[in-house]
């Protein structure tokens, strides 16, 4: 479980996060949603420790991140997997080498065991074996996302972060990626945090949703609660399209 308590973050005097508190539960797909510029990416990067917060606590199973030294943060990060918006695969390595990279860096196992683990992860995300030797630039965006998920789970992380996992993907591939993240979260009992403004994802896998507006937590609930919320900003954001307005009416 990850718990953030009263965190503030400013950039050059501009306060981006204001007293945000939230609990991200283990074995659930926790989603941070909000408009562009609302502060959700800053919140996620603060939780990971890429941004140093001004005030508050970020507890990874009671271990407070802001209190840790860099060496301790590095050790903690070996328990973390991350799926980046642009996949962030290493250009100079093949698909298989990308997945093997964290294992080679931190796993004490033999080369054969590392290869077996990388094969297991790549097959788990339904990637065909013929793609394993290809460079990231030679595979599609959807496949790159799958490789990035495989790399993120290679070291069996306790915490998985996904920044806009569906960005740039078609609706069908988005759905596949969403389901994959959801399955992995439940199967390996991971604390997953997804940063998204894709309403399809929210409705599909949002088990614990945090809505951020102007740097503040404006609402927290799940995908079923979202239809019965009074929060105007949340309704304007979630039910902006005609389709979702109709979905809401059908649910009420």
């Amino acid at each position: 479980m990850i718990e953030v308590k009263n965190i503030d973050k400013s950039f050059d005097g501009n306060q981006v996060l204001k007293n945000v508190s939230a609990i991200f539960e283990t074995g659930k797909t926790n989603m941070i949603i909000g408009q562009s510029g609302s502060g959700k990416t800053v919140l996620m990067k603060s939780i990971i420790g890429l941004h140093r917060i001004d005030k508050g606590r970020i507890e990874y199973d009671s271990r407070n991140l802001p209190d840790m030294r860099m060496s301790e943060i590095r050790i903690l990060r070996r328990e973390v997997g991350m799926l980046f918006q642009g996949s962030a695969l290493f250009d100079s390595l093949s698909v298989l080498e990308n997945v093997m990279y964290p294992l080679e860096m931190f796993s004490p196992t033999s080369k054969e065991e590392m290869i077996d683990r990388a094969y297991f992860c790549l097959k788990h995300v339904n990637l065909e074996e013929k793609a394993f030797k290809l460079a990231p630039s030679e595979i599609s965006g959807g496949m790159q996302k799958r490789v990035a998920i495989a790399r993120a789970i290679a070291l069996q992380p306790k915490y998985l972060f996904c920044d806009e996992p569906n960005s740039g993907l078609d609706p069908k591939t988005s759905l596949i990626i969403d389901k994959l993240i959801h399955e992995i979260t439940h199967e390996f009992d991971i604390t997953t945090i997804i940063n998204s403004h894709d309403m399809n994802s929210v409705m599909e896998i949002g088990e614990n949703i945090i809505f951020i507006e102007n740097g503040e937590k404006a609402w927290q609930g799940n995908k079923n609660d979202i239809f019965h919320v009074d929060n105007e900003a949340l309704n304007n954001f979630v039910f902006a399209s005609e389709l979702y307005k109709q979905v809401k009416q059908a649910n009420q």
């Binding site: 990060r77 642009g86 962030a88």
Partner: protein
Amino acid sequence: MSLLSETGKYFLLMKRVFVLPDRRKMFFRQFPKELEKLGLQSLPIVAIISVFIGFIMTMQTKLNTSNPLLPVYTTGLVTRDTLLLEFSSTILCLILAGKVGSNIASEIGTMRITEQIDALEIMGVNSANYLILPKIVAFVVMMPFLVIFSMGLGLVGGYFVGILTNILTTGDYLMGIQYAFVPFYIFYSLLKSMIFAFIISSVAAYYGYYSYGGALDVGKASTNAVVNGSILILFFNILITKIMLN
């Protein structure tokens, strides 16, 4: 103030770079790749420039020192000492600041803007050490070989003046390049070039590592790496010359 903070940031980055690698195996896997990319791939440009500069320097020296009172070995001697003292170390490094510096800055800068460096950090890898240390070590190790290669080819270029033109005899040239040879100049030149290699690679890595934004910003980082690397080379050239040759 900006210069001070940039300098501070540079030294803090170097502090992260110069630690023992998380996995030595990974360092030794990267190291030969960097030797090949930064060193061996620079050989063609070093060869072409050195031969042509050696040739033109010999020609210019001969044509502009036509005083009959000057000994016949003057041209060879001037060419050799210019190559040894300045061209094959300083000028060559200024050229390599363009080739290697922009290569390092753009490679690391692209990794930064495509979040590959963030990915390394989140895995718990010291990204500065993993990405930059093999480049600096490889380039510093390769540089003396490039300099010796350049010296040799520069002298060969000068020799061609004797063969291809009738302004100088090869005998006079060969006598000149052997006359009053000071072996210390080689040591001075190699040491200087290794310091320049460190400046080129570390400054370029710094600009690449802290680049942000998009492709345009990577281009700016690359330009800054070349310009500032070149200025530092010129500044340190004066400093090292003052210390070692005075």
